[in-house]
Subunit: 244 residues, 2 copies
DNA sequence: TCAAAAGTGTTAACCCTACACCCATGA
DNA sequence: TCATGGGTGTAGGGTTAACACTTTTGA
């Protein structure tokens, strides 16, 4: 906060008064948890138990604790609900319209997070109405969560082409076809297989594992993983322009 | 906020308790006010009057009022300090580290705003230490405002190439040279004059005013303005890809 | 041997980049 | 007439986009 508000202040008591009276609000984080299951983009949702939104699908969030920062709160929520630590998160937007929450003024900071859908373990939430929902099936949600979801997905679509984050949604080892299908699911467009592969080859951030898929009734596919070292090396170069 | 926090709740009283006790904070907006003066990007700053940041340059912000939304609070701050309504604003990021503010927990939502530097009128703030600072001269600021400035400028650099917002920093009528210099100042790179003009021509969002600059000791330059109608028409097209 | 997905090269169109000179004006 | 910035076209290189067939495996 700047100092505009205290233009008549002779001392900081006015500040303190304002902090106490005028504009305090509860602060929460809401996590848009993206997953990918080889078919489409999924969102982990819970069933809302708060009137008037009882029964609607809701994002997963919590109040931010005293002495906790926003990223930390988001990580805590994610660990609580999925058991995963160090998940990739990205702050999206703050939502604070008066009236967005039935119990009073609650400012929420939205995060998107990308998890490998096969690695998570739903802890003790199984009977709490946790459910993976296809992103396109979520048309109405509790509170302003549909608006939060839309903003988060837009930012994901914007970021995924220029940052190495797609890999966060795939198993550690993946085929080029899986990678392409993921991009297609996120962006809603389709790529030419040969052009897509040439692009990835030219960016040079994948590690060829010299392993193959097994057990399919067709030719096995090579497995790759995202190579952090290669990316670090290559992203330092001036002419580097990650663009899928 | 989702419903994760209430997994043990039998009724909403626990909610209310939490809202009252646990995680309330003051909420402010801070505006990074960008201007352009034909030389470089400037930030409108004020002198901080709060220890321990007394005398340092500070962004301009205020507490968010009850029943005010975030965009509205930012617009109010901007009107108060510049006299301008309907300024272009963009929410950037929420900052809430415990300890970021000396008086207690204050979550601030950062906005960048783009104003035509010649149109604003400093209202009754002239003796409050308001000052346009060159963006590159601001190395230390009050609170975490340098971090906020950096995040805002990064987002501006990212947005300016793909959204028609550069014009918000120029007078209504401008020359192509002015537009090019603006982009160069924001992005820190230089463009080829002929290529830049060809690009703008191909995007086709400028209105040729058939007017010319006057009073210069050289050939007059054509004046253009941003054409909202053209942009609307052209941005609807599927193949449209604004990219300067 | 069949079905199903993996993998691979070439060409044409387009876009980006680099580059140099004449023009119109006021002093 | 000179100094100053305004304004314009072309050619080469690189990138993107469109396109179809062979390979490998399990059933």
């Amino acid at each position: 906060m700047g100092t505009e508000a205290v233009k008549q202040a002779k001392n900081i008591n006015i500040w303190l008064d304002q902090l106490n009276e005028e504009s305090k609000a509860a602060i929460s984080v809401d996590c848009v948890i993206f997953g990918y299951d080889d078919e489409s983009i999924k969102i982990l949702t819970i069933e809302s138990d708060m009137p008037p939104h009882l029964g609607k699908r809701s994002l997963i969030g919590d109040l931010v604790k005293k002495d906790e920062n926003l990223d930390g709160a988001a990580q805590r929520v994610l660990e609580t609900v999925t058991g995963l630590k160090g998940v990739h998160i990205q702050q999206v937007h703050a939502f604070a319209d008066p009236g967005r929450h039935p119990l009073g003024r609650v400012l929420t900071v939205a995060y998107y997070s990308l998890i490998k859908i096969e690695e998570y373990t739903l802890t003790d939430f199984k009977d709490k109405g946790l459910k993976w929902m296809d992103i396109h099936s979520l048309q109405k949600m509790a509170f302003d969560h549909k608006e939060i979801l839309d903003a988060s997905f837009s930012l994901l679509q914007r970021n995924v082409r220029t940052r190495p984050i797609g890999f966060e949604l795939l198993p550690k080892k993946f085929t080029l076809q899986e990678l392409q299908s993921l991009y297609e699911a996120i962006l809603g467009i389709s790529f030419d297989k040969r052009n897509f592969r040439r692009k990835l080859r030219s960016i040079d951030i994948l590690l060829d594992l010299d392993e193959f898929t097994e057990g399919n009734a067709h030719r096995p596919a090579k497995l790759y993983s995202f190579d952090h070292k290669k990316f670090k090396a290559v992203s330092g170069k001036k002419e580097f322009n990650f663009q899928i």
